[in-house]
Amino acid sequence: MNSVILTAGTRVLVALLVLFSVFMLLRGHNEPGGGFIGGLIGATGFVIYAIACGTDAARAALRAAPETVAAAGLGIAILGALMAAITGQPFFTGQWLFLGAGEDGDKGLPLSSVLVFDVGVYLVVFGAILTLVFALEEEI
């Protein structure tokens, strides 16, 4: 599509959408949000970019092939599920690490295997959607 407004607007939009998608991913820790919705938003950014500047430009901007991103995401998700092995707990049990936790109920910065899993989900959704959309765009 050859539209100056769209092309110009896209530059801002893509950055905003990708940033917002990461925000949604991290927000999913305690509030509505998470990897799935984050991945969808992030993919939307690149879909707009592909519509405005063509899939070649979008693929170049992404650097990695979207299929590879999805496969890597699956790997990361499995890794998150496997982390329970560290403490010998049953498979998929969430592992938590509270960085700098204080005595008086201050939890510091909570890091968890749940977040790792969610990052995997984010990448799987992101990669899978872009794979489909790019394939369709290139066919038409």
């Binding site: 899978a128 489909l132 394939a135 369709l136």
Partner: protein, 120 residues
Amino acid sequence: MEPVLAVLVGLLVAAAVYLMLARSFLLYLFGLILVSNAANLVIFAAGGLTPGAPPLIETGALAPAGPVANALPQALVLTAIVIGFGLFAFALVLAFRAMTELGTIESDEMRIAEPPEAGR
């Protein structure tokens, strides 16, 4: 709320059956999308509709203070939506490929895998 949802499910299924009886694979898919949404609503309604608080527990407490919504049907529906989304995305691409490769998505004309026998 439940009667309204029940009627809605009925309407969705009726529309879906009508669409799925069409010869075009694309209309069939649209029907499937409707009927899968009907299934999601069935889960949602069957789980009990609780207007009110999200099922979140205060810091330090062991149980929610008042009645809260049942989170499980929502999780089930969300999972079903995600899976359905993936399946339909695939099915749409397939319909597109069928259109470009076979030149038709009318089910009566798709006889390449099962060619009609001679004399018929």
